[in-house]
Amino acid sequence: MRGFHDYLVLGLFDDLGQAADVVAALCRLGIPEERIKALSPFPVPTRAYPLPRPRDRLALVTAVGAAIGFLLGIFMMVGTANLYPLDVGGQPLVPGPPSIVILYEYTLLLMLTAVFLACALGIRTPAYWGQVYDPRLTEDAYGVLVGLTSRELEPAEQALRAGGAYGLRRLDEMGVGARLRRWLGRQISYGLWVAGIVGGVLAIAILCVFAYGGLQWIYPDQMVTQQSVGDQEGPRLAAPTAAVPIQGPVLIRGQPATEPLPGTAASRERGADLFRNQCYLCHGNEGHGNGPLAGYYSPPPADLAGPVVQSLPPSEVFRVIRLGRGVMPSLAENLTAGETWDLVTLVKGLAQGPAATP
């Protein structure tokens, strides 16, 4: 109804027959059928009232919903399988019987969702007819609600009363407030559609932002940090002193075995020279781990004069210099075996006194 009426009038009846007679009387008065509505507390047979059967488009909605569901199901089974193909158990990429299951479910789901939305929207709108109402309509009264122009008002109300109506109510729509409310009601009806669509699009957009990593919840379950690797990135446990006795030649895979050189003063002097070139920058003058570059490393360079390094067997010191350790690089390509042993002599003698002069 496009709102050409100025008044809404509601009459209540005890008997369905009375209400139907009054509807017929109103029709005879020339009031168009779209402006007459019959209300009841429970569904009555539609033939009781001489009004045309209300049209609904639910059949179309059902078909459209089912079609959308079917297509979505096809996307799930065929589309996703072909987007990222994976071999599982020798089954075909698009399995036959499972496809039927998924198509069935998706078709029914979308179909019924569409029907519900259509039904809910249809019930909710248009809302401005509901401005005249009586709670007795949910007890046992039948109602006739009619929209009237000012010309039709008197004869219609007379017809209602003559038919046995009680509890007559009238909504005078002449006022600006009433017109405004009617207009507002119609906007709300359309607004619900818009809100639904916009809301749906917004929800999908937000979902995509999360799904594609635009926003992330970082929680400590990432497999990137691994216990098996992490333990080897930090300081390693050395074997306790004398736990694994290593005397004699040092064996490093892929390199010939080497014997330690005697710890002479000459060896120590050569070692001091080498220390100035190779080791001082990190380990410092006296090997305390306080060289100019020490601050850049974590963990910091070891204190070579300290108890940990001093308690290491010479072969272990040799191995560390050769292979590197943690952040310390391997010096196998910088030093020969003999030079490395000279350094070992020097390091072992660090407890007695400073190593090098700058």
Binding site: D87, D221, Q226, L237
Partner: protein, 240 residues
Amino acid sequence: MADATQAEHKWTMVVDLDKCTGCQACVVACHAENNVPIRNKSEVQANRAQHWIRIERYWVGDPPAKARFLPMLCQHCNRAPCEPVCPVYASVHSQREHLNLQVYNRCVGTRYCNNNCPYVVRYFNFYDPYFPAPLTEQLNPDVTVRTAGIMEKCTFCIQRINRAEQQARTEGRDLGPDEVIPACVQTCPPSALLFGDLLNPESRVSKVLADNQRALRVLEHLGTEPAIYYLKGGKSYVRF
């Protein structure tokens, strides 16, 4: 220059039941290589022992009964029943290597895969793994440590396969016939376990399996087409 990381391999294992003594060295080796946690006594009693390869012991006959050992590990079936049932594609098949892959970071722990595995060789981490220090020093950095809620199983030491393939590619050659050795195969004292590429006629498994009267596969009638062949000759005490 050959790209060994793209070549097709059909990784196969041969278990010689006539040589297996049930010593469980393979079990220990697998624990060490693959960071498999050791579950405590009450967990084992609750039937949650976690060994990617286990020695199943069957008593046969009336007392004094004979014991028969069956090393059981993931059979890497070509028609693996565990794969189609995983809802998140954590259990998939590698067509190049003919392996059943378990993707740890994808697993949500529905445990459907083990229900469908007729060999029951998949393990679920019911608790977080506990490696008391200094056992943490022994963890293999090439292998993920699986946290609670994740399924795991034998991978045919895929980290060793990968390392060998990458080494071969760096050196510009094909993979050698017996270059890949999983931890259990490496450790087995009587060499009851053999591993290799069935597509390579030079590999030991190809030679052993050619025309072998003793070869059988476990639960073959289910049509899973496992990749592990068991050799059993002589008097058969247990019918599979």
